[in-house]
């Protein structure tokens, strides 16, 4: 179990002017479990890559040194893979479960690292089986990785890391893209494996409450370089609640839950009649017999496990997918002279009436600058140039995007991309907003801004549907909950669900 030492360490990515990390002095002892906090852009992920030995000093600019038991981290990684000891010095688990799967079958995927470390074949399969058992993944070796849920995939990636018996486990927001059950399972497995192996752990995560039992030390990085705060986990969080909340960390008790609101039922915006929806390539519908009603100024949360059909239903409600059977019916105000089924509307007609926000903001970017991105919708609906400019200014101001007006949407940070994707949907002033996992992977600051913005829209009479796993989001916004599961949707008042 190596000791991690940073002495005046800095790293600048090739082709960049600014240093990602600079002037870092840090010592992490054997077996310590450190939670690493920093505002976005302060170089948390760069530091993890550095410790993982993935930063080759020949590629970028390095200052000072970053050592694992006295050996430069990059050399330590190369040596471990080249010497055939069958062990990795460090193991790295990333955020996106989909992007880390290397091979098509579960057993092969876990074996991949062992092969690279030249472990003899006779030892590989027992170690693969042991690693799968360690992460609680009860699947056959030849199970296709494509058939795993996000949570299972993340545990599979962890098994691939653990099979190499690393002395240091590096976790980069490992639960940010998982549903609550999947996240809890992963946390349990990590805690259990750290207990069993005594490995050192460095964790980057902004939802800290659930990890407090696992970590024992918190290090807060300074955006300009160096360490801002360092100390025992609970004490640091208690002593620095306000500044940590401001940098987007979910400090327990730091994000006040807004008071519940009771909105009078307004005009009917959307109803469904015996609706059935399916996915492309499947013959049987995923959900059927769906009868729902949404009124102006009210918010409905679509809840249910991954794969239950929440996103599929959201697409049908947003007029993006044709129902398998039954109807989605827009109220007279929403339809505004068109026939009632939203999926029959032409795109420019749709975008003026219903705003859809996708789970991955990058899917919906179509322009090369932030300002152009916001102008697309108004232009399509025939708004005048002056009107478009006014709306654009107002939205950029409200969502703190003004300084980014000329930036390319793809180069923005995750929080900025989310704000922009919501802003594009609002630019045409739709009566209904359909959001898919709007708070996925967002830090506390973006979360609070988003909730405030959506509350404002509800007060103005916009109706809202959000597919979500986020219980805080439901508590803060939803009037009703549409519980999705076992092929059905059951509406319930939100107060009942949140109180449970």
């Amino acid at each position: 179990m190596p000791r991690i030492t940073a002495r005046g360490w800095g790293w600048r990515h090739p082709g960049r002017l600014a240093w990602a990390v600079r002037g870092l002095d840090l010592e992490i002892e054997h077996g310590e479990r450190v939670l690493l906090l920093a505002p976005s852009g302060a170089g948390k992920s760069t530091l993890l890559s550095g410790i993982a030995g993935l930063l080759d000093p020949e590629d970028g600019d390095q200052e000072g040194e970053l050592l694992l038991d006295g050996v430069p981290a990059h050399r330590a990684r190369v040596r471990a893979a080249g010497e055939g000891t069958g062990h990795a010095v460090t193991g790295l688990l990333l955020q996106d479960p989909q992007a880390q799967t290397v091979l098509a079958r579960c057993g092969d995927d876990v074996a991949f690292g062992l092969e690279n470390h030249a472990v003899p074949r006779a030892e590989i399969w027992p170690r693969v089986d042991a690693a799968l058992a360690d992460v609680g993944l009860d699947v056959a070796r030849d199970r296709p990785t494509a058939r795993l849920s996000g949570g299972q995939r993340q545990r599979l990636a962890l098994a691939g890391v653990l099979a190499l018996r690393p002395g240091v486990l590096l976790l980069d927001e490992p639960t940010a893209m998982l549903d609550p059950a999947g996240a809890a399972a992963l946390r349990r497995v990590v805690a259990d494996r750290l207990e069993a192996t005594g490995a050192t752990c460095v964790l980057v995560e902004h939802r800290v409450a659930q990890w407090l039992d696992v970590v024992d030390r918190v290090v807060v990085l300074e955006p300009g370089g160096g360490v801002a705060v360092d100390g025992p986990a609970r004490q640091v969080l208690a002593d620095h609640r306000a500044p940590l909340t401001a940098m987007g960390v979910w400090v327990p008790g730091g994000t006040p839950t807004p008071p519940s609101r009771h909105r009078p039922a307004g005009q009917q915006v959307l109803t469904t009649e015996d609706l059935a929806v399916g996915r492309r390539g499947l013959t049987a519908p995923v959900l059927s017999g769906v009868d729902l009603r949404l009124d102006a100024g009210r918010a409905a949360a679509l809840l249910g496990p991954n794969g239950s059909g929440k996103s599929t239903l959201a697409l049908a409600l947003g007029g993006l997918a044709k129902p398998d059977a039954g109807r989605v019916v827009a109220g007279t105000t929403l339809a505004d002279g068109l026939r009632p089924e939203p999926h029959r509307w032409r795109p420019p007609e749709l975008v003026r009436r219903i705003g859809s926000v996708f789970q991955d903001p990058r899917h919906q970017f179509v322009a090369s600058t932030v300002a152009d991105e916001l102008a697309v919708g108004p232009r399509r609906t025939g708004a005048s140039a002056t009107e478009t400019a006014v709306r654009l200014e107002e939205l950029m101001e409200r969502l703190r995007l003004t300084h980014l007006a000329r930036a390319n949407p793809f180069t923005l940070s995750g929080g900025e991309q989310r704000r922009l994707s919501v802003a594009t949907a609002l630019a045409t002033r739709p009566h209904l907003l359909v959001l898919d996992e709007p708070t996925f992977g967002q830090d506390a600051r973006t979360w609070a801004e988003l909730v405030a913005l959506l509350r404002g829209l509800l007060d103005d009479g916009t109706a809202l549907v959000a597919a979500t796993h986020d219980e805080d989001f439901v508590a803060a916004l939803a009037d009703e909950v549409w519980q999705v599961g076992a092929g059905r949707v059951v509406p319930e008042p939100a107060a009942v669900v949140v109180g449970r």
């Binding site: 290397v102 092969e115 058939r147």
Partner: protein
């Protein structure tokens, strides 16, 4: 749930059939020999004999007819129009069978058309069988261990094939998102512009994904050492040699039939 699942246990494929379980490199060699032999000539007898012999071998491939058609329709789609076009537009010779303006079908052009169709089918069929009965992971194992291609290249390509399925899903999301943004309903020009943007967005997303995947692979020791072990051994057995020999024999038989019938003629010489 991926839209295109390249690796799922394929329906209609019997993995225990002699040809299906042959080493992928053996199948690849046999198919290559066959294709090369058939590309030398355009004649009905050689291509027809090859196709008949291939069809006779089909029961050993472990492919049901429906599985074959599901994967092979594209070959049919290419073969038939190519033959028809040749029959109408090809060099005329012999008796005129049909004439309409500049289009004419003669005995000579009809024979060329038939030869083209048969050749496309005879070259395509082994390719379809190869793709349908070969798992990409096994192909990579075999290319690296049997054919001794550089493993970094082979494994990177293999990881890439998995991303293809993910990209098909991304494409669908991008299409829906474009409708949500109000794009894509005004004339062919607007459509082309929307589609161009969509391709660009897909490329950006693909590069990001590939970068993350590369990081995950490197973090697990990929690309560092030239020494590597293989969890799944890929061996070239005697029966694999027989598959290659079978391919050679089939090519020789078809060529011999063509030569004996006097129709075999080296294409390159014309």
């Amino acid at each position: 749930m991926s839209a295109v699942d390249l690796h799922a246990g394929a329906p209609g494929v019997d993995r225990t059939a002699p040809l299906a379980r042959a080493n992928p490199v053996a199948k690849l060699l046999a198919a290559t020999v066959l294709s090369l032999g058939l590309l030398l000539t355009v004649d009905v007898v050689t291509a027809g004999t090859a196709l008949l012999l291939e069809l006779a071998c089909l029961p050993f491939a472990g492919l049901s007819l429906s599985a074959l058609l599901r994967r092979g329709w594209i070959v049919l789609l290419a073969a038939i129009p190519a033959g028809v076009a040749t029959a109408f537009l090809g060099v005329d010779s012999g008796a005129v069978l049909l004439a309409a303006g500049p289009l004419s079908v003669t005995e000579g052009s009809l024979e060329s058309g038939a030869a083209i169709t048969l050749r496309v089918l005879a070259v395509g069929l082994p390719g379809v069988v190869l793709l349908a009965t070969t798992d990409p992971t096994e192909l990579a194992d075999s290319l690296a261990q049997v054919a001794r291609l550089p493993h970094r290249f082979v494994l990177a390509a293999l990881a890439g094939t998995r991303l293809m399925g993910v990209l098909a899903e991304e494409w669908q999301q991008l299409s829906l998102a474009r409708r949500a943004r109000g794009l894509g309903a005004d004339g062919p020009l607007g459509r082309v512009r929307t589609a161009t943007g969509q391709v660009f967005a897909l490329l950006v997303l693909a590069l990001r994904r590939a970068a993350t995947l590369a990081t995950a692979m490197e973090a697990r020791g990929f690309g560092v050492s030239t020494e590597r072990t293989w969890a799944r051994p890929s061996r070239f057995r005697v029966r694999d040699g027989l598959v290659v020999l079978g391919g050679v024999a089939l090519t020789a038989a078809a060529t011999a039939a063509g030569v004996l019938a006097g129709t075999w003629q080296l294409t390159l010489a014309r």
